[in-house]
Amino acid sequence: MTPISVTIIASLGALGMLGVVFELIRRRHLRERYSLIWLLIGVVLLVLAAWRRGLNTLAGWMGVKGYPPSVIFAALLFFVLIMLLHYSIVISRLSDQNTTLAQRLALLEEEQLRRSEESREDG
């Protein structure tokens, strides 16, 4: 069974994280799509931390013998990996969009320069 101190500390940690996320949403520092993911992660961690019987059962299913809280570590690591992958995707997309914007800007600048030269020649 999970030591009671681990349950308390992990629960407080999860609650603290939920609190921080909630505050960030309240101040509009997090966009909706991200806030939802973070809230979900916080809730899952809180459930794993506070629900001792549930954690025990889950550990049994996963074949984790001896120390059930390692399931919390596993879940945490999984979420971190998923979020990092998600950021890689977002950065790739932003970088593509940034490139396209830079190209369009350069093409427009050239066109504008050409037009102003033409109108100077005409006038």
């Binding site: 490139t99 830079a102 190209q103 800007l105 350069a106 093409l107 050239e110 050409r114």
Partner: protein
């Protein structure tokens, strides 16, 4: 006027795309040489975030200059040129690097197959013919690997898939304007042509030593280059068949 006349060249709306990143020492000569080969070429220098006077020098030599706000790399720079070519109705484009290693006197070699309608993309190869090419071991290894891999994918013998001395017709321009690989684009662009069932041809050319500056590909980078391009080619094999090209 030019001493060289190629059949069909005069009827084409033709553009020379010159990617240049800090090439103030060589870009003027490149522009002059293209113009003396054929004054009918619209020369567009893609100034890829240079910190030197590349842009001003190119403009003063009568080239159009498209200045990217910051360095995007050769792939995105070339795509900018192809977008310009597509939007302005050009139907023949050549790529000539701003560092002076591509000799405009060799243009007839890469232009002829496009003008004759034999190919949509023509690559000037350093390895066809007898021109000796000295380079580091890793670079030679990489070039060999690419040639072998791309030849297998394309089903035709190719020797110099990293060459940036190229000519494309309107279909190639439209394709590359819509989608052009990043970072080290030449090898992947070659495969793209094959995947879209466009025709590809290699012709022998002589290349010069770089006039000024140094190659952007250093020893350590070439290992990364090889890995990155091989991965891209591998992933390409698992992509579904590309959409058929709309007629240009």
């Amino acid at each position: 006027m030019t001493g060289v006349t190629l059949p069909g060249l005069a009827e084409r709306r033709r553009i020379a795309i010159v990617p240049a990143f800090n090439e103030e020492g060589s870009v003027a000569a490149v522009i002059d040489e293209i113009h003396s080969f054929d004054p009918g070429f619209e020369i567009v220098v893609i100034n890829d975030g240079s910190s030197d006077r590349t842009g001003e020098i190119a403009r003063s030599r009568g080239a159009r200059v498209i200045s990217l706000p910051f360095n995007l790399g050769i792939g995105a720079a070339m795509q900018t040129g192809f977008r310009f070519a597509q939007e302005n109705g050009f139907n023949l484009a050549v790529q000539i690097d701003g560092d002076g290693q591509h000799d405009p006197a060799e243009l007839p070699a890469i232009l002829s197959p496009v003008l004759a309608g034999e190919a949509d993309l023509v690559i000037g190869s350093r390895f066809l013919g007898d021109g000796a090419f000295r380079s580091s071991f890793t670079r030679r290894l990489g070039i060999r690997l690419f040639a072998w891999t791309v030849s297998a994918i394309a089903g035709q013998r190719l020797t110099d898939t990293t060459s940036g001395f190229r000519a494309v017709n309107r279909r190639g321009i439209v394709l590359f304007a819509a989608d052009y690989p990043r970072d080290y684009p030449e090898v992947e662009a070659t495969v793209m042509i094959v995947k879209h069932r466009l025709r590809l041809k290699e012709v022998p050319v002589q290349m010069r030593e770089r006039a000024t500056g140094r190659s952007s590909i250093t020893a350590l980078r070439s290992v990364y280059y090889i890995a990155k391009v091989l991965l891209a080619l591998f992933v390409d094999l698992f992509r579904r068949g590309e959409a058929p090209m709309e007629d240009a």
